[in-house]
Symmetry: C2
Subunit: 148 residues, 2 copies
DNA sequence: TATTGTTATACTCTATAACTATA
DNA sequence: TATAGTTATAGAGTATAACAATA
């Protein structure tokens, strides 16, 4: 009977990426069923929770480029979720605001996200979740400190 | 002095998705610098490590649809990384095999992946990594058991 | 000139539906 | 008919470069 040597390096990247893919797809489905998508959800969260001064900050908060944000905002404006108007103080800035429909979608997606989170957390204790969150944060910090 | 109440539900999904996005982008860059991409890397790993009987199994292993796999294999064949030939035993089956260039790319990408993993793990102990891997696995199991 | 945002364009990954080849 | 794979087509998300508007 042979013993397979434990690999010197456990590929945590593989585990993380596989988990994230599975979780992300499940989350996609949950958001889609509620009429949304991940980018839209991220944008709605940012608009609701943090006071962004302009679209550049919004794009940074969501983690996408300005042109990509414009692309999503175009869709959201067409769908009646947000309005854009110029800031009278500085007419270069476009103020993005949620409409009633946007607010409503935010709440539906929040509800879907909470349900999804509950299912994902099932069987994990509070302290396990806290440990997980902290370890993930440390991983992210390590890779965020890129050379680029 | 007010105390902000801890949220009843820590959005582990948000933490996971943010971490995964950061890690995934960093990994993308590392693979791109070595001449690859995540789908190509996944396909190479599967070809090297698990004996897949046909392309359907390969697609399942990678987590994509058959047509999507065909798309990637077309590119990989054009790039001289793999060959496809019919199985004489069952001519419906196309046997996918790595070329020398494919082997070489596998090793380069493996090296990039290991480097990336090391950087990501920095400051985390073996047991912390093991804990993290186990917790992630439990999360993934929970969401994988979809209704759909 | 510098900043804010948009437009034009394109690339990657993915998917579904219809198709071919083989059994 | 059923199975293995490909082709055709499309859609979502992202990005860069060039541009317009404003300061």
């Amino acid at each position: 009977m042979f013993r397979v040597p434990a690999p010197a390096i456990a590929p945590i990247g593989v585990v993380l990426s596989r988990t994230a893919k599975t979780a992300s797809r499940a989350f996609d489905q949950a958001l889609a069923a509620a009429g949304g998508s991940q980018p839209v959800w991220q944008i709605l969260i940012s608009l609701k929770t943090s006071p962004v001064a302009n679209q550049r900050e919004l794009a940074d908060a969501v983690g996408i480029q300005g042109a990509t944000l414009t692309h999503h905002l175009n869709g959201m404006e067409t769908a009646g979720l947000v309005t854009r108007r110029r800031d009278p103080e500085n007419r270069r800035v476009h103020l993005v605001e949620l409409t009633e429909d946007g607010e409503a979608l935010f709440h539906r997606l929040a509800s879907a996200a909470i349900t999804h989170d509950k299912r994902m957390r099932k069987g994990l204790s509070e302290s396990e979740i806290a440990t997980l969150a902290e370890l993930l944060h440390r991983l992210a910090t390590n890779v965020a400190n890129e050379g680029g």
